[in-house]
Amino acid sequence: MRISTNMIYQTGIARIGDLTAAQARLQEQITTGRKMLTPADDPVGATKALALRQAASVNAQYAENRQAAMYSLGVEEAALNGVTDLLLAVKSTIVSAGNASYSDTERGFLATDLRAALEQLLNLANTRDGTGNYIFSGYQSQAPAFVESAGGVSYQGDMNQQQLQVSASRRMNVADNGAGIFQAAGNDLFQTINDIASLLETPVIDATDADALIAGLSATMDSIDAGLDTVLTVRAAVGTRLNELEALETFGQELDAQYEQSLSAVEDLDYAQALSDISRQQIILEAAQKSFVMISGLSLFDYF
């Protein structure tokens, strides 16, 4: 079979060209660290990588939402902590107000303490978070939850609870509205403290007044106790939610690690294999080049 001189050159160069192109491709894989350079290299892998990236991104967003939830609940927890301490202090004031030996003046001092406690309770009920939102106002976080007027303290928030998507399947309440804490079931803590302060400011003149004082103190204790129960119940719920967030955080981090691993398996280059491939192809390329020069150098004209 005849081989034309052209074909000797063309096939030789074509093969060397192919080998050089393969080298260049390996080089690109090594410098980018990826075995899949375009979707054509691995169409199934490309789809997988897109899906993994989206899942990882959504997962990261849930983690951020959890941070936001933990912050909100933390602010609420701190406020409720303050309310608890305050109610306990009010209770001890009430107890000492029951001291029969106190005069009107001393009860007057206790009343002043209670008025101060009322202001503090109002402040706590109108706690704002770092961005200035009122945390106990339900959805109406732009306005204080409670306002004081001649008729008493009234709630001007709404009954909704803000939620956040803290995992793929969990939307969590991250706020509680003030009406359900400070004025639950008709038990208005502000009214109670206001009333008992007014009662302590009233001079006890006769037995009716004394009876009224004892009854008032007793009723106030009941109210404060009920209020304390409510606050502690809400605090427990907040605590449960914070625990759940921690568990979700751990799970989320595990998921994250899994996504990274899967993504790496699809995309990343096996360096050991690639480097061994490149040195093997190097040898083949050198052999092809040498043999090409040898074969193309053979010519009858050399012997003329």
Partner: protein, 546 residues
């Protein structure tokens, strides 16, 4: 007798000279593309009857023949068509493959960033910065869609440009072949011998032409080539070359199609399935089978995302307490009327059900009784008795006028969506994040629902999210490019084999020519010796007279 020996020597000398000349011509053209090696065909000269026998009178050159196999040459040309088509389709599709390759510049990160900003706004709906960030990433998403669509538009313009270039090159080759037909006939009749180099040139032109478009070659009795393309349109007939041209598409003025100028001067548009093979076939296949449906699918992602987001947005309330308005502006489906329509129907197309959209384009035709709707990506045909109708999530209706038989419209429900997607809101207070009309600062009810759209199955009849639709698009492009690369490699391999076979018959081998040189040189020397001996014989004769 002596002088005839001289003559015999002379014929031998001449033959050897011609042999060396032809060998030299082969050596000089060893690297010329399309060159077939030539060899001298000698035959003995007419013998003289000398009574005692026939005495040969030397040699004569019958012809100089080119070593050529018509079958192999035709096979190479045919393979060049296939290779041209595959290489072109691969190269064009690879542009889109590379476009989608960069994982940080693609569409997916832009969609993810957008929904990240929705989630951040859900965590703090009253915060102006979070709202502004949402608008900014929505704008970035729209820009990314536009950018991708723009690049696809550039690729389409590139196809138009290459069509033009290919068509003008085809015309050039056709003219040259016609001219060679004339020259070859003239040269053949002048000497009654084949004009080898001209024949080689003509075959090389046919091979070059085959790379551009598949052609059929028929040789006339007088040796001229007639060249046919497509469904039998004549490109070259004898001495005359017809022209191909590009024409604006009747349904889409931004698109060029291939046309043919016939003998009466009319331009006929060639249908896309009649032009196969070569660069031309590859470009048209790419455009019809891949580019259109890729653009449609990208638009489908835009429509699905936009419509789903709009629908949820309108269920919420903004910071002014008003119900949410349109968030993304989505272009309406594109309708193109065929310029040859005789009816006056005005077609109206609206999206009725996003989940049922397919991303394909459609041709609506009227035959006098029925309407037929043909999908351009898979050719599926549906017959509709009357309009209005809702098909594949799209509502078709004629608002005024009516169609005549033979009218057709091109409907592109999603193809323009990616390029035209834009943000309809610029005021952060108009973002409807709240679920109640009281719209408190902490009301993020609608924002939570908007964020959940990212993973919701809103497309393809509830089987896919819009990120899934995008992933399907990437996968299709990757698969098709991969398939084309493999086919292209296989076909190139076949072409190499055929060229090798052809070259083993017609190609010049320098060692062989070196041998021929030696042979003819020795023949020349021997012939010279014959003449020398003849001369010496004559001198001897002359000395006898002394």
């Amino acid at each position: 007798m002596g002088s005839s020996i001289l003559d015999i020597g002379k014929t031998a000398l001449q033959a050897a000279q011609v042999g060396i000349a032809v060998t030299g011509h082969n050596i000089a053209n060893a690297a010329t593309p399309g060159y077939s090696r030539q060899e001298v065909i000698q035959s003995p000269a007419l013998a003289l009857n000398q009574g005692f026998g026939y005495v040969g009178q030397g040699t004569q050159i019958v012809t100089i023949q080119r070593i050529y196999s018509e079958l192999l040459t035709r096979q190479v040309a045919s393979s060049l068509s296939t290779v041209g088509e595959l290489d072109t389709y691969t190269a064009q599709l690879s542009q889109i493959n590379n476009l989608l390759a960069n994982s940080s510049a693609g569409l997916a990160p832009a969609i993810q960033d957008f929904f990240d900003s929705v989630q951040s706004a859900a965590a703090n709906p009253g915060d102006a910065a979070a709202r502004q960030s949402l608008l900014s990433s929505a704008q970035a998403l729209a820009s990314r869609f536009q950018g991708l669509d723009h690049r696809l538009g550039e690729i389409e313009s590139g196809v138009n440009a290459e069509l033009n270039a290919s068509v003008s090159l085809i015309n050039t080759y056709a003219n040259q072949i016609a001219q060679l037909n004339v020259a070859i006939e003239a040269a053949s009749t002048a000497s009654n011998r084949p004009p080898n180099d001209l024949l080689d040139q003509r075959d090389q032109l046919v091979a070059d032409l085959s790379r551009l478009v598949k052609v059929d070659v028929v040789q006339q009795d007088d040796g001229k080539y007639n060249i046919f393309i497509g469904n039998g349109q004549s490109l070259v007939v004898g001495n005359h070359a017809y022209s191909m041209t590009t024409v604006r598409s009747a349904t889409d003025p931004s698109r060029l199609e291939v046309g043919y100028i016939n003998s009466t001067g009319d331009t006929i548009t060639l249908s896309s399935n009649s032009l196969v093979g070569g660069v031309l076939g590859g470009l048209i296949q790419f455009r019809e089978q891949s580019l259109d449906s890729i653009r449609g699918q990208l638009g489908l992602v835009a429509v699905t995302l936009g419509e789903a987001f709009n629908a949820q947005h309108m269920q919420g309330y903004d910071q002014n307490g008003s119900a949410g308005g349109v968030f993304f502006s989505i272009p309406a489906p594109a309708i193109s009327e065929h310029s040859g329509n005789s009816g006056d129907a005005v077609l109206d197309v609206a999206i009725d059900n996003v989940a049922a959209l397919t991303g394909s384009n459609y041709y609506l035709r009227y035959d006098g009784t029925n309407y037929t709707l043909t999908r351009t990506d898979n050719g599926a045909v549906q017959t509709l008795g009357s309009l209005p109708q809702i098909v594949d999530g799209v509502e078709l209706d004629i608002t005024t006028g009516s169609m005549q038989a033979g009218d057709s419209f091109l409907i592109r429900p999603t193809a323009t969506a990616a390029g035209g997607l834009s943000l309809a809101i610029s005021d952060i207070h108009q973002i409807a994040l709240a679920e109640l009309s009281s719209a408190g600062d902490a009301d993020n009810g609608n924002a939570l629902a908007l964020a959940a759209l990212q993973t919701a199955k809103t497309a393809l009849n509830g089987s896919a999210s819009f990120e899934d639709v995008y992933a399907q698009l990437v996968s299709r492009v990757g698969n098709k490019t991969n398939e084309l690369k493999v086919m292209s490699a296989a076909e190139n391999s076949t072409l190499d084999g055929m060229i090798s076979a052809q070259q083993s018959v017609s190609g010049v081998n320098l060692d062989e020519e070196a041998t021929n040189l030696l042979r003819y040189q020795q023949a020349y020397q021997a012939a010279g010796k014959v003449m020398q001996i003849a001369s010496q014989l004559f001198d001897l004769l002359l000395t006898i007279g002394h």
